[in-house]
Symmetry: C2
Subunit: 167 residues, 2 copies
């Protein structure tokens, strides 16, 4: 492992700029801004709204909780995105006949038109983000991000477990 010394010895030398989580955050913010500008500027879509539309896509009818499962958003987030999209008339909500707690969400014609318009744009951005990376580098990047992400999720789990015990 490349970490220079043991963790108690180099307090003096702490540099935010070379702190891994800081770099991740700056990286993530840049990527996120580049993509979200596209759908924000063009259609005033927030990230949650975009994700909701992206998951529904063409010909999909899903309940809010199915969207939650596929989007790494929580239900509050989805609920609000749905409201906003209904207001814009990009999305229609019906009630499930078999379980009246459930909603049946799908894009409207108008929403679908936006979706069709936005997809190629965000794909272009996606391509531009990785244009100078070989296919192999892209694969490696994704694999390493996943590994780190799993570690992070493990840590988060541990912490909330401790918090639950602690009290």
């Amino acid at each position: 492992m490349m970490v220079t010394a043991n963790n108690t010895m180099d307090k003096e030398d702490f540099q935010l700029g070379s702190f891994f989580p800081y770099k991740v955050r700056v990286f993530g913010t840049a990527v996120s801004t580049a993509v979200s500008s596209v759908y924000r500027e063009r259609y005033g879509l927030s990230v949650s709204e975009w994700r909701t539309m992206a998951i529904l896509g063409r010909n999909q009818a899903l309940s809010a909780s199915e969207i939650v499962e596929r989007s790494s958003m929580d239900k509050v987030n989805v609920s609000r995105a749905v409201q906003a999209l209904r207001k814009k008339e990009f999305l229609r909500r019906d009630i499930d006949g078999e379980d009246r707690r459930k909603s049946v969400l799908r894009l409207t014609e108008k929403g679908l038109a936006v979706f069709n318009d936005v997809i190629p744009l965000v794909r272009d951005v996606e391509a531009a983000l990785t244009e100078n990376l070989s296919a192999e580098e892209q694969a490696v990047l994704l694999k390493l991000m996943e590994k780190v992400q799993k570690n992070a999720e493990g840590l988060i789990g541990e912490m909330s477990a401790e918090a639950a015990n602690g009290a």
Copy 2:
């Protein structure tokens, strides 16, 4: 509800889960949450406050705009973090004798104690995040993130340039 029911246009199929910027965001959120929980739960520090403290560190006296330069935060963010840290008595603000617009910020004793306490904890998290990556993998990950980040920053620049031209 089958996607496959009507998929004459499968080429057009868009899967959020395999969209690169989406993955980056999920990755970033996980990493960020893992680290920020440490200083949030222990000292109620926000990300901006933590960054500000991390940059000041030991024996550093900086102005707010010097913190801006080193933190990828904007000045509003820094200004608010400074206020919050003063209220917690983690940070002291004086006025620069030579340029009375400038502040001279440094950690108090109390702030320094917190800093000394937090640093090993966040370093542990940093180490845990990458524990199953070889030194080489870590270096590759950082290098690839930087490349993508540069691309993203380029795109953001183009967009705001266009926006300025546009209308």
